[in-house]
């Protein structure tokens, strides 16, 4: 099937098998390997991307379902060589160790924090239930999301 999907601001028209997952389309067809695959049961959230502004697990969506959509991946988050405030906050707060969950964690955090500059620990922790991290124990991720939320709204990171 032919799909037209905008990814990180660029339009792609590709022939895909109907069964191809969005994450495999991104990784294998477009070479955007920043989105990682950590499980096969939609628990871990490593593959989280934005589809039309919503955080989605790209292992749970077929590429054909994304036809006509606008997708943003971790590769599209920084702009003009500047890290997105959420990326910067993860760096500042040591919100990552091995880095494997990080792209999905950041993409989920951006939508969680959007329009919520005062987000509290509890909301961050519940908001990230669908993203696993085995390294950090989450504590620094919570700090990062709060700092990122504030910075996204123009406050101090």
């Amino acid at each position: 099937m032919k799909v037209t999907i905008e990814v990180n601001g660029q339009a792609y028209e590709k022939e895909v098998e109907p069964r191809i997952l969005l994450v495999d389309f991104l990784r294998n067809d477009l070479g955007l390997t920043g989105t990682n695959v950590g499980c096969d049961t939609s628990q871990c959230g490593a593959c989280t991307v934005h589809m039309d502004g919503m955080a989605v697990k790209s292992c749970t969506i077929l590429a054909v379902q994304a036809d006509g959509s606008s997708v943003k991946t971790i590769e599209g988050l920084a702009s003009n060589g500047q890290l997105h405030p959420m990326q910067q906050a993860f760096w500042d707060e040591h919100g990552l160790q091995c880095g494997f969950c990080t792209p999905g964690m950041i993409m989920a955090s951006v939508t969680l924090a959007d329009g919520n500059p005062e987000i509290d620990d509890n909301d961050v922790r519940h908001g990230l239930e669908g993203n696993f991290c085995r390294c950090t124990g989450y504590e620094n991720i919570v700090k990062a999301v709060k700092a990122g939320a504030s910075a996204m709204a123009g406050g101090e990171a």
Partner: protein
């Protein structure tokens, strides 16, 4: 004064991870690359009667299907050998482990056949078209049942499921001590099976170069040189100098990526057989049934105590489940990393411990974060709590009575180890303050009066980290020495490449090792690049596990930096026409000058360039500025910790809520506090995972019932309060950095602390023990049973 050591420098490796540029093996794409998938056994124990792959081979896009016999025969590729065991104490039984099963399958997930195809999707399709005729055999999953006479044999040819029996200590003396004690507390318990669940599933890729007859293997390993050694010497027989193993960015390991796995044999075998690069990436489902798992002990323990609160002796018998094959270091974990740790932070006059290593029809078990030490610590802390309760003594007070005093280091335990340094009283003082221990007890008293189930958990722990002095390791049964390499190459312009045999898979070595070298040489961190994970670039090294990188890998770099400084001093003395003894190396400024005349200073870059022009060097000195050291530690390092937590149990549902958690750790000197704290925090949450949720459950038929992230409960962000972390610093006296291991402490203490807290909460109901994980269901049942007279 150092400029970087002890400061929380932000991690230099982070920008690539933050932007999706991590170089994980699964991301590798090579021209002409084929995709490998593995047909796996759905049964835990069965004879393979036949494999019909004709339909799979006929599928469009399938390049080939291979069986275990094909790999043994070699054909157009190598004749594969058995996966070896790298730790073999005397009299151990080591059954063969073919990369792909030949005669029978021995656990769910055991490899049966290999598919090679043009895409991962086609390879998966082909797996379903392979018809395997399996004849089911009786199954054994329990370690103690496996070593009984009538148990089905996992490996018929070795005639037993008992791989080893490993005793340590004076059993008669312990029995005598126990019989002379005022009290003996006894407990039989299970330390449950765990699954590591590094977020990056394992992966392997390989490329054969027929023109040079050399192989490059990319693999998700914590120790690429070890994998090269085992591939070269045992499984593929590729000469080591024709074999390059690369472990680029690795997405977490926690021990599970130490070992030599079948797929690391299969994929290079395929690459040569088909003359194309090949890649395999595990699905998470495959990870659950193929990654080496952790823990799984059945233990019987007896602790003797006197009325005054002193411990008199400890007797421990453990049945350790090894799974269906001996994974690379499997026998090490329930022996030399477990029995030897049974003294903890306490003065225990006599200890006897023994382990029975049992083969079963389950996924192999090997090191998982802590590896033997969490089992020892959980055992000891659980027993200590029971003893304190028996004596009606505060558990912290009871522990304090038995601590090894600070002036008794180095301290020789009754179980072989000599602790290098420690200040356990200091740890206890700080944790009592940080956790507000006394006021927690008051809060608890009030809560209990209101009928609420509130518990306070406490745990101290010791770890033997930084394995190990090679003579000790090899003497115990290790197949290789456990030193580490560190090489410093100074380029003509003064920029520096550092090559370390340690491997970073989340620990942040690109930052901490640069901090070490920059301080040692007096250069800017930005001028230092850390290279690891590539056997063609890095001198032979041992890799990262057992919290060894800073203590051993870091020390190797200190030694190489000393050699660089010595050479530069000689050059500077020659240039300044002064004697070497008068030269002063300013490690803050990176300059060398004659003592008393700072104006004579030569900069690091000037001197580095002088070595390259080489026209004015001291007589007999070789040009070039590159030094390598191999550091073999004098001892393990012994970090220690004390953690305290308060939990409340919902009496209606059995749900545990962690209300507060405080941790004080002593990991010696600290290179980067932010990174150390990150290790501790992550470790605690992983340890709490074992206490409350995680469990690799096998049915009696050998099926892994918690074989996905849907059924195996991983810690999530919402299960925790903010954790208070602090530390004291008692430097290790025997390595030049004074550091101790930081990677596993949190995990070791986290498990015991939360288990202690939950059991404390349930104590008023008469509940004396519950095996982990302390799930709501289990606790609820215990509460109901207590209410029905099931308690005291």
């Amino acid at each position: 004064m150092s400029r970087y050591m002890g400061t929380s420098v932000k991690r230099v490796e982070d920008p690539r991870f933050l932007q999706g540029q991590g170089r994980y093996v699964a991301n590798l794409s090579l021209p002409g690359m084929a995709h490998v998938a593995v047909k796996r056994s759905p049964l835990a124990h069965a004879k393979i009667l036949g494999i019909d792959s004709s339909e799979a081979e006929a599928l469009d896009g399938v390049i080939g299907v291979y069986t275990g016999q094909d790999l043994l025969d070699g054909g157009a590729s190598f004749a594969c050998g058995s996966l070896p065991c790298g730790f073999t104490p005397p009299d151990i039984v080591t059954p063969a482990h073919n990369p792909v099963a030949v005669d029978k399958v021995r656990h769910v997930g055991d490899a049966i056949a290999v598919v090679v195809a043009e895409s991962p999707y086609i390879a998966e399709d082909a797996l379903d078209l392979i018809d395997v005729d399996l004849d089911p055999l009786p199954v054994v999953v329990d370690a103690r049942a496996a070593v009984e006479d009538d148990a089905p044999l996992v490996h018929d040819d070795v005639g037993t499921n008992l791989s080893f029996h490993w005793p340590l200590g004076d059993e008669d003396a312990v029995n005598e001590a126990l019989s002379g004690s005022d009290h003996v507390v006894e407990l039989e318990f299970v330390n449950q099976r765990l699954i590591a669940n590094a977020m990056e599933p394992r992966a392997c890729a390989a490329e054969w170069d027929s023109s040079t007859e050399s192989m490059t293997v990319w693999t998700t390993s914590q120790n690429p040189h070890t994998i090269r050694l085992l591939l070269g010497a045992f499984t593929l027989g590729i000469p080591e100098h024709k074999l390059r193993v690369i472990s680029p960015d690795v997405g977490g390991g926690f021990g599970s990526k130490i070992f030599h796995y079948p797929e690391e044999v299969i994929v290079p075998w395929v690459a040569r057989a088909i003359g194309r690069p090949a890649k395999w990436v595990a699905s998470r489902t495959e990870s659950y049934v193929t990654d080496a798992q952790g823990r799984d002990h059945i233990t019987r323990a007896k602790l003797g105590v006197n009325e005054d609160g002193t411990i008199t002796g400890l007797h421990v018998t453990t049945w350790a489940n090894l799974g269906a094959y001996l994974s690379t270091f499997a026998p090490l974990i329930p022996t030399a990393l477990y029995i030897t740790l049974l003294s903890g932070v306490y003065k225990i006059p006599v200890i006897f411990g023994e382990s029975y290593g049992a083969l079963t029809n389950t996924v192999p078990v090997d090191a998982y974060r802590g590896a033997g030490r969490p089992e020892a610590s959980y055992l000891l802390e659980t027993m200590v709590d029971l003893a304190a309760r028996r004596l009606d003594m505060d558990p912290v007070e009871f522990r304090r009575k038995n601590l090894i005093p600070s002036d008794e280091f180095p301290y020789q335990t009754p179980v072989a180890l000599e602790y290098d340094s420690g200040n356990y009283q200091g740890l206890f003082d700080k944790i009592e303050e940080l956790s507000g221990y006394q006021s927690l007890r008051q809060e608890q008293e009030k809560a209990r009066a209101d009928g609420r189930l509130v518990g306070i958990g406490f745990s101290s722990c010791i770890e033997a980290s930084g394995p190990a002095p090679s003579a000790v390791a090899v003497g115990l049964g290790a197949a290789i020495g456990l030193f580490e390499s560190g090489s410093i190459r100074v380029h003509p312009t003064g920029k520096i490449s550092v090559f370390t045999g340690s491997h970073s898979h989340g620990q942040g070595h690109e930052t901490t090792f640069a901090q070490i070298v920059a301080d040692e040489l007096g250069v800017a961190m930005e001028d230092v690049e850390i290279v690891h994970g590539d056997t063609d670039r890095v001198p032979y090294g041992v890799g990262t596990y057992g919290s060894r990188s800073a203590a051993i890998g870091g020390s190797a770099l200190v030694k190489s930096a000393e050699k660089i400084r010595d050479k530069l001093k000689k050059i500077a003395a020659h240039m300044l026409e002064a004697s070497v003894e008068d030269m002063v190396y300013d490690q803050d400024e990176g300059t060398i000058s004659v003592a008393g005349s700072p104006e004579s200073a030569k900069t690091f870059a000037e001197l580095a360039f002088a070595v390259t022009t080489a026209d004015n060097l001291p007589d007999g000195m070789e040009p070039g500025l590159e030094e390598t050291s191999f550091y073999d530690p004098a001892n393990f390092t012994f970090p220690a910790s004390a953690h305290a937590a308060m939990v409340e149990i919902d009496a209606k549902t059995g749900e545990v809520e962690i209300q507060s958690y405080a941790a004080v750790d002593d990991v010696g000197n600290v290179i980067n506090p932010m990174i150390v704290e990150g290790q501790i925090l992550g470790g605690i949450v992983q340890g709490v995972g074992q206490a409350l949720w995680e469990h690799g459950i096998y049915g009696e038929d050998g099926q892994l019932l918690s074989g996905s992230m849907l059924s195996y409960t991983m810690p999530r962000a919402d299960g925790f309060p903010a954790i208070a972390v602090d530390r004291i610093e008692t430097p290790s006296p025997h390595n030049p950095l004074g550091v101790k291991g930081a990677g596993e402490m949190g995990t070791i203490a986290g498990t015991a602390t939360i288990s202690s807290a939950v059991l404390d909460a349930l104590a008023p109901l008469g509940v004396t023990h519950l095996n982990m994980p302390l799930t709501a269901e289990k606790i609820h049942n215990a509460i109901v049973a207590a209410g029905n007279g099931g308690g005291e």
